[in-house]
Amino acid sequence: MSHETGHPPLLRGGDPEAPPLSHRARMKDSDEPPGMWDKTENTRRLFRVLYAACAILVILDLVVHRHAEHPWEHVVEFYPLYGFLGIVILVIAAKGLRRLAMRPEDYYDAG
């Protein structure tokens, strides 16, 4: 899921602020062949598996009689909804937390 696959770049690579590389590591050569997950067809295949898994789990919820102890568990597709919405709310709230809590990296050293 990197630049080459058309996904949005998440990380700033080669940052001059990064600490020095260990002597056990080096930067890549320019003529290096692409890795397994640089190939679009592989990432596409992976996400097709994810979609299929989601579809099967939604169908199973309708077919399987699962026992429920909590009142909300009786709601159809409760767990898929809770898992999906839980993560969305978590991430959006965490972005809000960043506005409150984020300070420069040397915050404690500077004072």
């Binding site: 899921m1 990197s2 630049h3 949005p8 770049p9 998440l10 990380l11 700033r12 690579g13 940052d15 990064a18 600490p19 020095p20 590389l21 260990s22 056990r24 590591a25 080096r26 930067m27 890549k28 890795g35 997950w37 994810l50 989601c54 789990l57 919820d61 399987v64 699962r66 026992h67 429920a68 102890e69 909590h70 009142p71 909300w72 568990e73 409760f78 767990y79 898929p80 809770y82 898992g83 999906f84 839980g86 993560i87 969305v88 978590l90 991430v91 959006i92 965490a94 972005k95 937390l97 960043r98 809590a101 984020m102 300070r103 420069p104 990296e105 915050y107 404690y108 050293d109 004072g111």
Partner: protein, 567 residues
């Protein structure tokens, strides 16, 4: 080795041997001590005790029951894996210091879980802090030095609270037994609970954990993650099982760190937040206090040491090999570290509680117990926190280190001993998840629980797979926050930022008031001096040199006046 030797003694002797040896002999000792100690442990029967009568107290430095045995097995296993993982250390990495400190630290943890009285517990409690801080300081950076000092101060304070509580309790009840305490309204019980709470990372008391653990050496943090907080969980299970307050404390612990984990850039700090989240589940289980809940709490502690250890080992391997550990500096390492990446994913699946992985069979006991006891509203945030674990430990750690945007960093797999330690931890994680009866048979109460039914497998898989889908959608739509170089302020802000400024401000105010008082006093003194100088100065009438005769005259006058007054 006779079975009655306390495990901590085996480890302390081992630490001495480690300190005195070098090279292959030292490596052999590092691996043999936990193996031989573990074999000796298998021969121990619950009920074995060692008592020492001194100073009017009966000290019980060694007492064996099912709960302490479980943690005993766990700490031997963790020491073996940790020592194996650190076996490659060279002298320029302070190998002798790190190995010795780690053995002493593990021995202190064993001492604490086999302690039968609160004074013995206090001794090992303080030793835990004094020995482990060297694993932070061995990083030899200014940040590590300072974080280590803060860590030490807070843990010594926790020990002082424990000792104060123990002595007050001894005065009130006449007993220093390390057993069930509970909140009985006494100050002593509260002091002991707060002492335990500091080490367990209770909300607002957790600052030391996210402060110090990311600063430890790559190998040292693996040890740190295994012992201190688990000793605290053990102590809570022993003394405060069924204390309802802990249910609420635990739920807060599961929820608040996951928001920080989303935005934290340092991957070992993400895991530190994750650790508080996992301990939250254990604390909740202890608070519920039923056999199922306490079994779940200690089983989850067992599983956590292994999967969290595995995650700290894989991130430690990344730090060791590349020199970098921040999400914003990493990515694409699967190309050169595929085995490490795979083992990291096993740890991630284990902590996320996928079926067949360890947390699935341990955390679910706590979730079930919460429902059985009617905590319907609290079960919802626990389920939310379970999904949150998947996001930060299940996806974020492996994704940002090994996949994500290719940082261009190329390296190779870490030394073989590191790989082997990670592989063994991964095998145990899957082993617990696949064959839970082995772990269940070691739990303190009889287990009447089976995690593998259709409903549980289906619902947990639904929760997790749709959580993955949500992360994918958030990344694709650009909503997911990027990794940024930043410090996120948390509880430690109170003593790292606010405290020094308050002290500075109060100090400034005190200095100003002090200055004003001094100058006023000086003014008063100098005006008094002026008055005195008029009388006593060089030309003052009282400073003149009078002949002896006049003194005699004045004495006579004084005597005369006295006579008149007294007659």
């Amino acid at each position: 080795m006779p079975a009655e030797v306390p495990p901590f003694a085996v480890f302390f002797v081992g630490a001495l041997l480690v300190a005195l040896t070098r090279g292959h002999l030292r490596r052999l000792i590092l691996l043999l001590v936990p193996v031989l100690g573990g074999l000796a442990l298998l021969g121990l029967e619950p009920g074995t005790t060692l008592e020492i009568r001194t100073l009017g107290y009966t000290l019980v430095p060694f007492r064996v029951d099912r709960l302490s045995l479980l943690f005993g097995y766990l700490f031997h296993l963790a020491t073996f894996l940790g020592n194996l993982y650190a076996l490659h250390l060279e002298d320029d990495e302070h190998a002798g210091l790190q190995h010795t400190a780690a053995m002493l630290y593990a021995g202190s943890a064993l001492g604490a879980v086999f302690a039968g009285d609160l004074i013995s517990l206090f001794v090992f409690w303080e030793l835990l802090a004094l020995t482990s801080v060297f694993l932070v300081w061995a990083s030899h950076t200014e940040k590590a030095l300072r974080a280590g000092i803060r860590y030490l101060v807070i843990h010594v304070l926790s020990g002082v609270l424990l000792l104060s509580g123990a002595l007050m309790r001894a005065h009130q009840t006449g007993s220093i037994e390390f057993g069930a305490i509970g909140l009985d309204g006494s100050v002593a019980a509260w002091l002991i609970l707060i002492a335990f709470g500091i080490k367990a990372g209770f909300p607002l008391l957790h600052g030391w954990l996210t402060d110090a653990y990311p600063e430890g050496t790559p190998t040292g943090t693996v040890f740190l993650s295994a012992f201190t907080t688990k000793v605290a969980v053990f102590a809570l299970a022993r003394s405060f099982a069924g204390t309802e307050l802990l249910v609420y404390v635990g739920v807060v612990m599961t929820c608040f760190p996951i928001f920080y984990a989303v935005i934290e850039n340092d991957l070992r700090r993400v895991l530190s937040y994750s650790m508080i989240n996992q301990i939250g589940f254990m604390v909740t289980g202890i608070g519920i206090g039923t056999a199922l809940a306490v079994n779940g709490a200690v089983a989850h502690a067992f599983a956590d040491v292994l999967f969290k250890g595995l995650l700290f080992m894989s991130t430690g391997a990344v730090l060791y090999m590349t020199g970098r550990i921040k999400g914003s500096d990493l990515g694409g390492l699967y190309k050169t570290m595929p085995v490490t990446a795979t083992l990291c994913i096993v740890g991630a699946a284990s902590i996320s509680a996928f079926p067949l992985f360890s947390a699935f069979v341990t955390k679910s006991m706590i979730m079930s117990a919460a429902l059985h006891e009617g905590y319907y509203w609290l079960w919802l945030p626990l389920l939310f926190a379970s999904a949150g674990v998947l996001e930060h430990a299940g996806i974020k750690i492996p994704y940002f280190a090994f996949f994500g945007h290719d940082s261009g960093i190329r390296t190779q797999e870490p030394p073989r001993n590191m790989l082997l330690a990670m592989a063994l931890a991964a095998v145990v994680c899957v082993g617990i998840g696949t064959f839970p009866t082995v772990l269940y048979s070691l739990l303190p109460y009889a287990v009447d629980y089976w995690p593998y039914d259709v409903s549980h497998v289906l619902t947990q898989t639904q929760l997790l797979v749709f959580g993955i889908l949500a992360v994918y959608v958030l990344i694709r739509t650009g909503i997911y926050p990027p990794e940024l170089r930043a410090t996120n302020i948390d509880a430690e802000w109170s003593y790292r930022w606010l405290g020094p400024r308050v002290v500075h401000a109060v100090g400034g105010a005190v200095a100003r008031i002090d200055g004003a008082v001094r100058s006023a006093t000086m003014g008063l003194v100098s005006s008094l001096l002026g008055v005195a100088a008029r009388g006593h100065g060089q030309k003052g009438p009282l400073a003149r040199t009078w002949p002896t005769g006049s003194m005699v005259l004045w004495v006579a006058v004084l005597l005369g006046v006295s006579l008149i007054l007294y007659l």
